[in-house]
């Protein structure tokens, strides 16, 4: 019984791992191929199946004049915009979430839950609906085709996620902890920063991760709101499309663009897998 169970369990895990890992391996393998290796049927292992080539990777750093797309600048632009937008979203979102979780707001029929929903409702609209207003607003402010403009737009998109996750998290932190901090001589700000925040690190990490994923993978707004001055990675990669689809450099760019999220996920995995996400406070 246990043998059958274990075989099934590990069988399933192996199958699922393959499901998850195989596309990456395939992309990795493809990124080292050239035109002939891609079109000549399925091949898997370099040197055995096909002769590896660095052409796919070189395209990413070559200047456009030499037929490349040079993703280095867009890459750092993307990192900067995503990090700034996530950071500001987390800071503002956490403060808003704490207020929504702990204080009672009332304006007519509008109460805390309605306000929380208004934050989320930003995400219900299809992005297309927002594109023209954003374009006009940024144009008015002179922030089209700039990092600041992109960061502002991303904050609008990311902060609701942070608010939503953190409201839920703070609602699970007993109010008595804040009250004890007040009783022990903290003013409300100290209670938040000295007691509530240090106990909310798992929530902050989850919210931060979500913000980074959504910010990093956005193509639509980066495409609409920038032209030549500022380019983000997803937009830069699209320039690869030409009459012959360059699978090798597409694969290389896909790997490069996934890398930061994988690195971040590995860094914070420790906090996520420790099981102290919800169990930190009881």
């Amino acid at each position: 019984m246990t043998f059958v169970y274990r075989t099934l369990k590990y069988g399933f895990i192996a199958f699922w791992s393959m499901f998850v890992v195989a596309p990456f391996l395939w992309a990795l393998s493809t990124s080292f191929k050239d035109f002939n290796s891609v079109t000549g049927g399925a091949t898997y292992i370099p040197w055995v199946d096909f002769e590896p080539s660095l052409e796919g990777w070189k395209v990413l750093v070559r200047s456009p004049a030499q037929g490349g797309i040079n993703i280095i600048e867009p890459y750092f632009n993307s990192i900067f915009v995503t990090c700034m937008a996530s950071l500001i979203s987390i800071i503002l979102g956490t403060l808003a979430a704490y207020a929504l979780s702990r204080f009672t707001f009332k304006a007519g029929f509008i109460k805390n839950n309605d306000i929380t929903f208004f934050f989320i409702s930003q995400r219900i609209m299809p992005p297309v609906v927002l594109s023209i207003p954003f374009f006009i607003m940024l144009g008015f402010l002179g922030l089209l085709d700039s990092m600041v403009g992109l960061i502002l737009v991303y904050i609008v998109l990311l902060m609701p996620i942070a608010v939503w996750i953190m409201v839920d998290f703070f609602n699970k932190v007993p109010r008595e902890i804040d009250e004890t901090a007040l009783i022990d001589g903290c003013n409300p700000y100290q209670a938040f920063f000295k007691v509530v925040l240090p106990n909310s690190i798992p929530g902050l990490i989850v919210a931060g991760l979500f913000c980074m994923i959504f910010g990093w993978t956005d193509f639509f707004f980066a495409f609409i709101l920038t032209f030549t001055e500022v380019q983000l990675l997803p937009v830069a990669i699209v320039a690869l499309n030409s009459s012959i689809t360059p699978w090798w450099s597409l694969s290389a760019s896909a790997l490069v663009s996934v890398a930061p999220l994988i690195i971040v996920a590995f860094l914070v995995e420790r906090y996520l897998s420790k099981g102290n996400l919800s169990g930190a406070l009881k």
Partner: protein, 359 residues
């Protein structure tokens, strides 16, 4: 120089959580707020702590207005019924937290924390994480934190209710020792409880609360001997005092056709009329010459038996000092000692008590 509350009212929505609450508390004393769940005990403690602001009434400490002092400037400590500590800090830092908040010297903090941990029996645990402690230990940390502060007012909100029976007994004993030895004569100790036995054991004054009101304030002895109203008699006894509607007429107490007793001497001042008679479960006994009752239920609890009996719609609970098998439907003769009876008038106030209280 006391903590005095006058006509405190707190009504967040439709219902009163505090309704015209007044009391006065002296320094160096223990007060137990006794009341059932939702009586307003926690609301009262939170109001004293400053976590809630009453809509009406005044609260003064040493003659100074206390209601407008922000929580963090009040010299108070509070232990909750949930085990509330700071999960991100070690045991030592948990206890040291309020002292660090006061910017005390490190060596003083060290001494105070260590002595507080010693008082609650947690020496050697100072580097542990809170999550690594059992419920009882977590509650001791919370107690140590409130003791180390040497607060002017120490609030304990049903601190033992979430612990198992054994631990509760043991901690209650320790609490009593700590209260008498560690808490200075400058402090007011306020303890809330749903358990009348606990309230009596802790000694001190008892404030009986029900439905957001204070029903009676007095020493444990006073509340036990002369409960002011029917409600107090029910709340301050476990099991609740038995109540029987009846009349006094022609030298007889008459509850129904078969329950009838001679008027005892301590009822002599009562005029004829309608009363509610109270008798403690412990004063209900099985007696050969008693009044016939039908057994409804017999619960064995340790070495005692709770006997639920019924006669003509009148139910009584008797606490018998033995383990005895009764089956539902059994006939049993119940002895009611008229000398142990309480009488409450039609408005529910104490009219006569075996201990001489009443009108």
């Amino acid at each position: 120089m006391d903590l005095i509350a006058q006509n405190l009212s707190y009504k967040p929505e439709q219902e009163f959580h505090l309704n015209d609450v007044s009391f006065s508390m002296k320094k160096g004393q223990l007060y137990t707020i006794l009341g059932r769940t939702l009586a307003g005990k926690t609301t009262l403690l939170k109001t004293i702590a400053g976590l809630l602001t009453p809509q009406q009434g005044t609260l003064t400490l040493d003659g100074q207005d206390f209601a407008t002092v922000p929580v963090w400037q009040r010299n108070i400590a509070m232990v909750y019924q949930q085990f509330i500590n700071y999960p991100h800090l070690s045991v030592f830092e948990n206890v040291a937290f309020p002292l660090r908040q006061r910017k005390m010297d490190n060596t003083i903090i060290n001494t105070k924390v260590m002595s507080a941990l010693q008082n609650v029996g947690l020496m050697g645990f100072e580097d542990r994480k809170i999550q690594a402690l059992s419920g009882g230990q977590q509650q001791r940390v919370a107690l140590a934190r409130s003791l180390a502060k040497e607060a002017g007012i120490l609030l304990l909100d049903e601190p033992l209710v979430n612990l198992d029976y054994k631990l509760r007994e043991q901690l209650r004993e320790e609490f009593r020792n700590i209260f008498s030895s560690q808490v200075s004569s400058d402090s007011i100790l306020i303890y809330s409880s749903t358990d009348p036995v606990e309230a009596m054991q802790l000694g001190g004054d008892i404030i009986v609360m029900d439905e957001a009101r204070v029903l009676q304030q007095g020493t444990a002895k006073e509340v036990f001997e002369n409960p002011a109203t029917i409600r107090v008699a029910q709340i301050a006894n476990d099991p609740a005092m038995n109540m029987m509607q009846g009349d006094i007429a022609e030298g007889k107490i008459r509850v129904n056709d078969s329950i009838s007793l001679a008027v005892p001497p301590h009822f002599s001042s009562l005029s004829s009329g309608r009363y509610t008679f109270g008798v403690r479960a412990a004063d209900v006994s099985v007696a050969a010459k008693g009044i016939p009752f039908n057994v409804e239920l017999a619960e064995i609890s340790g070495s005692e038996t709770y006997l639920h009996v019924q006669n003509g719609g009148q139910t009584l609970i008797g606490l018998l000092d033995m383990v005895k098998d009764f089956a539902a439907g059994d006939k049993v003769n119940i002895g009611l000692d008229a000398a142990k009876l309480y009488a409450f008038d039609e408005s529910g106030r104490l009219a006569a008590s075996p201990f001489g209280g009443g009108k």
